[in-house]
Symmetry: C2
Subunit: 338 residues, 2 copies
């Protein structure tokens, strides 16, 4: 994997991509009355294991249990009255769906949510709890898109893509504003990468605030399209994905790819078993209930791929975005009820 | 259960018990460079379920995974050089043990920890990780005390009781200083009760800062000695205890009982199944990995006992102390590895 080590000046970033520091600050002004300012946790034990200082930005404590509410809330509040009146629509396997349902509820408008049949139960429950109207699709992207197109035609609702949208990217970028204020010593941020909305927003904001900060993506081996895309210099999509991290199966979009290409320094690819081991540390040491996607940043920092690459020796204060915490734990409760 | 509704003035509290607001403020000055200032989390969904606003003080994020580090750290730092040189000793089923080992490590002295054979594995692991020297005892209080007495004789170490000690009570009381600053609107604090060290410290500090604040204990039905003691007007000990909340099996001591008698407004007794249901909400909604003792405050607030008692209708902003997060989750990980 080649790395983009030269830093971009703020002028180079501004206006070139689907979001920038201005749109991200505007998003923050818009959403901050409604979101949780999530805490940053640290653990001496995990620092020792990682051989550096780790700072965990716990977006699993965000409303809806994931960072997605930031983007959904910003997009929702950006709509004019006429647009909002017809409701909003998305297709998503989980966290964006729940986030949009919640944001729509906040504004008192309808949310139509196309959900693939294989979505985790707890994420579907969240959509239901927030009053989203669920429309089922098959468990593939084509079926999701076709079903969404049909609902769009019937309702005239505004389609809000889970990540390939400047308003969504700007909303997710607000994480950097908080994170760099809460832990200004951070020299590196490790971010789960899927469709790229989260990492794009974070990179755009963080590199505007501190051009020398490193942004690393963390991606599961069974859905390593972003790593392949970086290598190939163009968007690569996979025929199929296979990973425990159900939130990291999407592919880059035309708005997120340029940011990932230019501003993400590298992608660390990890195995599912590394993700599970990191999850365990999150539960047992950090005491935070994460989903697999939420633990992948820690998995990356503890991986040999990262630790044995001398380029990253300089990463002393590493921010890790714990993206979400929506996980079916039925088995655990069943075992206790007996 | 009769309630003590009259409020005590600060003069009445000061000097009457094993700790007071002055000793608690002194403890805070001593320990604050070493402890985590734990965050306060909120959840709209849980507020709706409870019918009031809940504020979760997450001491599971404290060093060692439980509030116990506050007291242990204060006691440790209160020792003079000569005392500290011989090491410290305690008997504890878990969280106090780990906390004392960690505090001793901080000061570079030896910690002898008598642990009953039935202590949760992850709590024993914590003691080991922090370099505590483990001495096993049988799973009853008598064996714990006898074993400890033997070690005491051999080593001359300073014995630090898990809760019946003014330095420990003062350390735990520092929670109130942070909590009432982080969420000043709180009118009630619900606290797990076992030996009474935590609730004594919290009550002494909170009632000095705000004499009208209500302090409620939360206790498992299978170890309801504090509720029985309040009813009887004297310390009641049980022949045996049976509850999933392994951290809540101790009995009140002569230093904690007067505080519980005078300053704790009531004890809410809950069933184990209510504790498990509350744990599930902590993991799935709050996204916090708690142990059973840590979830009992939420269980109490959601219980019929609490909700149907008109006295507590006025509790609109309820602080809940999430005391710890050390739980063996082996089963969960085993299920994922397959």
């Amino acid at each position: 994997m080649e790395m983009e080590m030269e830093t971009k000046s703020q002028e180079e970033i501004e206006g070139k991509y689907a979001a920038d520091i201005s749109s991200i600050r505007a998003a923050y002004a818009r959403i901050s009355p409604f979101i949780h300012k999530t805490p940053v946790l640290t653990s001496e034990s995990l620092n020792i294991m990682a051989g550096r200082n780790l700072f965990f930005k716990c977006e699993c404590f965000q409303k809806g249990g994931a960072f997605k509410f930031r983007g959904a809330c910003n997009a929702m509040l950006s709509l004019d009255e006429e647009q909002a009146a017809k409701g909003v629509l998305t297709h998503s396997s989980g966290n964006h769906a729940a986030a949009l349902a919640l944001a729509a509820k906040l504004r008192g408008v309808k949310a139509y949510i196309v959900i693939p049949k294989n979505a985790p139960k707890c994420k579907v429950e969240n959509v239901r709890r927030y009053g989203g109207q669920i429309i089922w699709s098959e468990a593939n992207l084509l079926s999701r898109e076709e079903t969404a197109a049909k609902v769009l035609q019937e309702t005239g609702a505004v389609f809000l893509h889970p990540y390939n949208d400047g308003r969504i990217i700007s909303g997710q970028g607000t994480i950097s504003l908080e994170f760099l204020e809460q832990a200004p010593q951070i020299d590196t941020i490790v971010v789960p990468i899927s469709g790229g909305g989260l990492i794009s927003g974070i990179a755009l904001a963080a590199k505007s605030i501190n051009p020398s900060i490193r942004i690393l993506g963390a991606e599961p081996k069974g859905a390593n399209d972003a790593a392949l895309s970086k290598s190939a210099g163009k968007i690569i999509k996979l025929h199929e994905t296979s990973t425990i991290a159900d939130g990291l199966r999407a592919f880059l979009g035309d708005l997120t790819w340029p940011v990932v290409r230019d501003l993400v320094d590298d992608i660390i690819v990890v195995e599912d078993k590394e993700i599970i081991a990191a999850m365990r540390l999150c539960y047992e040491v950090l005491k935070v209930a994460v989903e697999p996607s939420g633990a992948i940043g820690l998995a990356a920092v503890l991986s040999d791929t990262f630790r044995k690459n001398p380029t990253w020796n300089e990463c002393r204060n590493v921010g890790i975005v714990v993206s979400g915490g929506n996980l079916d734990l039925g088995l655990l409760w069943n075992s206790m009820d007996n």
